[in-house]
């Protein structure tokens, strides 16, 4: 489900390597990362702790210098930039942090003003821009508060306002919701989505939670041990994960963990098939199962189901037991495929994952 706006490449990583010397020897955090983020999309990078996600995103604004490979932002190779040129580039890239990283000595307004001061904007412009941004994130009345007086969600709103102050075209988010409770997470993700929708800012977001990817990402890269092991539109990765890493990450947040209810064995001559049906986009809105049982002599027993939204698209997963004669079952499954349902066969051992 690539966003319709997605266009030219904003971020391009090619063969990026990065290692760290530690007391226990060298750690290869990134082992050849290739990645492309296009204008206007929300691109997720997911992986477990230590996979190299933070190192990856920090290479994009050169908080880390890659050992090898290219990092391009807007077609400019950052690996060769130094001094004033590098700083100018950084002023055009916003960054949001897991732990907010607000200055405790500055008020909310002062924090949002900081990047503008750093960029040398005139005072009157700073005041106006700060006001505008605080209104936009819904914190205009808290401009004089100090970060210590705010909740986590409010702090992150300030962090986002601050990151947007210099009107960047690209926003980097390193686990922006990992320090927040689920409710606050949802509102911060909504805000990030508005950043893309209303300001047209391209977002590269790092997370270890599939739920974050599910909620806002158009495309996602799964990172494991410093490599991209899988990449694609979110719906595809969620529905048909190709890598073991993606399946593990899905297992943690997906709907498949529930134990299956007891089922009655099929009558003689018939057979039961467990299938997971994925409905993406328009098919999620249609009564596909009703049509199915009317048109084919099969029974459909819905064992579990979940409707979700992927970005703006409805997305449903049903675990269904279909019972009928083998031939009828095949025809029924063919029909489902034809109307756009993605089918995954369940075998009993799959339950373990």
């Amino acid at each position: 489900m690539a966003a319709p706006r997605a266009g030219r490449v904003v971020v391009r990583l090619q063969g990026v390597h990065k290692g760290f010397e530690t007391e226990n020897g060298r750690i290869e955090a990134l082992r050849g990362i290739d990645l492309e983020v296009r204008a206007g999309e929300i691109y997720g990078v997911i992986g477990v702790s230590g996979a190299g996600k933070s190192t990856l995103v920090r290479c994009v604004n050169r908080l880390e210098r890659p050992d090898a490979g290219r990092v391009e932002v807007d077609g400019v190779d950052l690996t060769s930039l130094e001094g004033a040129e590098l700083r100018r580039m950084r002023q055009r890239i916003g960054m949001v942090f897991q732990h907010f990283n607000l200055l405790r000595s500055r008020t909310v307004a002062g924090n949002v003003a900081l990047p503008l001061e750093i960029a040398g904007r005139p005072r009157a412009e700073i005041r106006q821009r700060v006001q505008e941004l605080l209104e936009w994130v819904g914190l205009a009345d808290r401009w004089a508060s100090y970060p210590s007086e705010l909740s986590g969600g409010q702090k992150q709103r300030v962090g986002i306002a601050r990151a947007l102050a210099n009107r960047p075209r690209l926003l980097l988010c390193d686990e922006p919701t990992s320090a927040l409770d689920p409710e606050t997470t949802a509102s911060v993700l909504d805000l990030l989505k508005r950043v893309r929708d209303e300001m047209g800012v391209t977002i590269l977001i790092i997370t270890h939670q599939m739920s974050v990817v599910r909620a806002i990402c158009d495309r996602v890269a799964v990172v494991e041990a410093g490599r991209v092991v899988e990449e694609g539109p979110t719906s595809e990765v969620l529905v048909r994960p190709q890598s073991e890493a993606a399946r593990r990450l899905l297992g943690r947040s997906g709907p498949r963990r529930q134990p299956l209810p007891d089922r009655t064995p099929p009558p003689p001559g018939q057979e039961a098939r467990l299938v997971e049906l994925h409905f993406v986009g328009e098919t999620a809105k249609e009564p596909v199962i009703t049509h199915l049982v009317r048109r084919f002599p099969v029974m459909a027993n819905i064992l579990s189901g979940q409707i979700d939204r992927l970005g703006g698209t409805p997305f449903g997963v049903l675990l269904v037991e279909l019972t009928g004669k083998p031939g009828d079952l095949e025809r029924a499954l063919t029909y489902l495929r034809e109307v756009g349902v993605i089918i995954q066969e369940w075998h009993e051992e799959v339950e373990e994952r």
């Binding site: 908080l63 950084r90 960054m95 942090f97 990283n101 000595s105 990047p115 750093i118």
Partner: protein
């Protein structure tokens, strides 16, 4: 025990001398020690002005400065003091060794204050495209203000103690008074009054420093 007006007058004058010595030396030592402390922090490996060699050299200088006992330093730099203020005796002359002794001390205190600043906040500023100078002025120093004030308080109190030693070799001040009258002339009343004034002075400095730091702490 009745304290004579003469003792009170002597004590009052000595207190003024002590305040002047300590005040001037504290301010000058902060002026010298603050940049040193900033450099110690920012030239450390992985920091905004990372320069392992400079970091190492600065650390060495500061350590050497701190390891020389004050009383020896005071005598050793007499030629420098004389060159600078024209004499090696008196309150003004005492300010020179006090300042010199306190600079490396301040540098270490500043270093530890700045090291308490959240590295994430420094990183945020770097990510915004801040120059090292901007990171120092807009992040390190403002974020460390309460801690820097507490450090300055410690410096001032330490200098009160040092100034008594400087006083003993002709620097004037409360220490001088206590030694010359209280100890050498067996004037127990002078001894008691000066000690009492010193106790109150130290308490007062600590109270003001703590209060000021707390007022500015937004944690």
């Amino acid at each position: 025990m009745i304290i004579s007006p003469v003792v009170l007058k002597l004590t009052w004058e000595a207190l003024q001398e002590t305040l002047l010595m300590v005040g001037v030396a504290t301010v000058l030592a902060e002026l010298g020690g603050l940049p040193l402390g900033v450099l110690l922090v920012t030239t450390a490996p992985g920091r905004i002005l990372a320069s392992p060699r400079l970091h190492h050299v600065l650390g060495l200088i500061v350590n050497v400065g701190r390891s020389i006992p004050f009383i020896i330093l005071m005598v050793a730099i007499i030629p420098f003091t004389r060159w600078l203020v024209g004499t090696s005796i008196g309150t003004t002359a005492a300010m020179v060794p006090l300042t010199v002794a306190a600079i490396p001390y301040v540098a270490r205190l500043v270093e530890s204050s700045l090291n308490e600043v959240d590295p994430g906040v420094v990183e945020a500023a770097v990510a915004m495209g801040a120059t090292p100078w901007q990171v120092i002025w807009k992040v390190y120093l403002p974020e460390a203000v309460p801690s820097l004030i507490l450090g300055g308080t410690i410096t001032a109190i330490t200098l009160v103690g040092y100034s008594a030693m400087a006083g003993a070799v002709g620097g004037g001040g409360l220490g001088d008074l206590a030694i010359r009258y209280g100890y050498q002339r067996f004037r127990t009343d002078v001894m008691l009054v000066t000690v009492a004034v010193l106790v109150v002075l130290v308490q007062g400095i600590q109270y003001l420093g703590s209060y000021w730091a707390r007022r500015l702490d937004r944690r």
